[in-house]
């Protein structure tokens, strides 16, 4: 019998979209049976429209701020922009997101849409938390096909039997 991986995806930003999809797709490639339970902000990862996924350097001191273009010395600069300035520039997140997407592309890292598709091709099962769908005012039609809308108890049916269970 194959090993089982259960993931709870709770974050709804571009950077945090990666760990659940990378781990789920890789585990599936290794022969694991995988289920991902999307809840709270994690619901953003299973919407048809992924444009809400952004990355914010604001209040995130762990995030290097480097340019994805220009000569090597320029790319090496870590732009240390104070929080108070970041917070006061309209569109700062949009700009940071565009730069991050370029960096992702430059490094041959897959897009979220691509990784999600690979998960689905590999039969990773996606569960969405019905309670948070209602709480946030989403419609079932906002989400990709193949998603099951369930409660926590359904997730535990699989998670309780899993070899690895991750909360992301």
């Amino acid at each position: 019998m194959s090993k089982k991986l259960a993931i709870i995806a709770t974050k709804g930003t571009l950077d945090w979209a990666y760990p659940p999809y990378i781990l789920a797709s890789t585990a599936a490639a290794l022969g694991y049976d995988v289920q991902v339970f999307f809840t709270f902000y994690g619901l953003q990862l299973v919407r048809k429209d992924l444009s809400a996924l952004k990355v914010s350097p604001l209040g995130n001191p762990g995030m290097p701020m480097k340019m994805p273009f220009g000569p090597k010395w320029f790319r090496a600069i870590n732009w240390n922009i104070p929080n108070i300035i970041q917070a006061n520039i309209p569109g700062f997140e949009t700009l940071a997101t565009a730069l991050m997407k370029q960096t992702i592309k430059n490094n041959g890292v897959a897009s979220i849409a691509e990784l999600r598709e690979m998960c689905q091709e590999a039969d990773v099962k996606f569960l969405a938390c019905q309670m948070t769908v209602e709480l946030f005012g989403f419609e079932h039609s906002d989400f990709i096909d193949g998603l099951e809308f369930v409660g926590a108890a359904t997730f535990f049916d699989f998670a309780g039997e899993s070899d690895i269970c991750l909360y992301i």
Partner: protein, 75 residues
């Protein structure tokens, strides 16, 4: 070394080389050999781990000029 299919995973980063390898192996029959070329330095350990966990046999693994070449025999 003889091979039945070649996968060019150059420029791709984790986990794409592994995912593409898995996909390419699915198109082969048991005993056939897949050649993979990658530039991701992490793929060296990852290919070994993939082989160990899936039962496919990593026949060889070599590096030349920043590129990594693998031969994987399908289980």
């Amino acid at each position: 070394m003889n091979f039945d299919k070649e996968l060019d995973a150059r420029g791709l980063n984790c986990p794409l080389p592994i995912l593409r390898t898995k996909k390419s192996l699915a198109e082969l029959t048991a005993g056939q050999v897949l050649k993979v070329i990658a530039t991701d330095p992490g793929s060296v350990k990852d290919m070994q781990a993939f082989a160990k966990q899936t039962g496919n046999e990593l026949l060889s693994s070599a590096e030349a000029g920043g590129e990594f070449m693998f031969f994987m025999k399908k289980k």
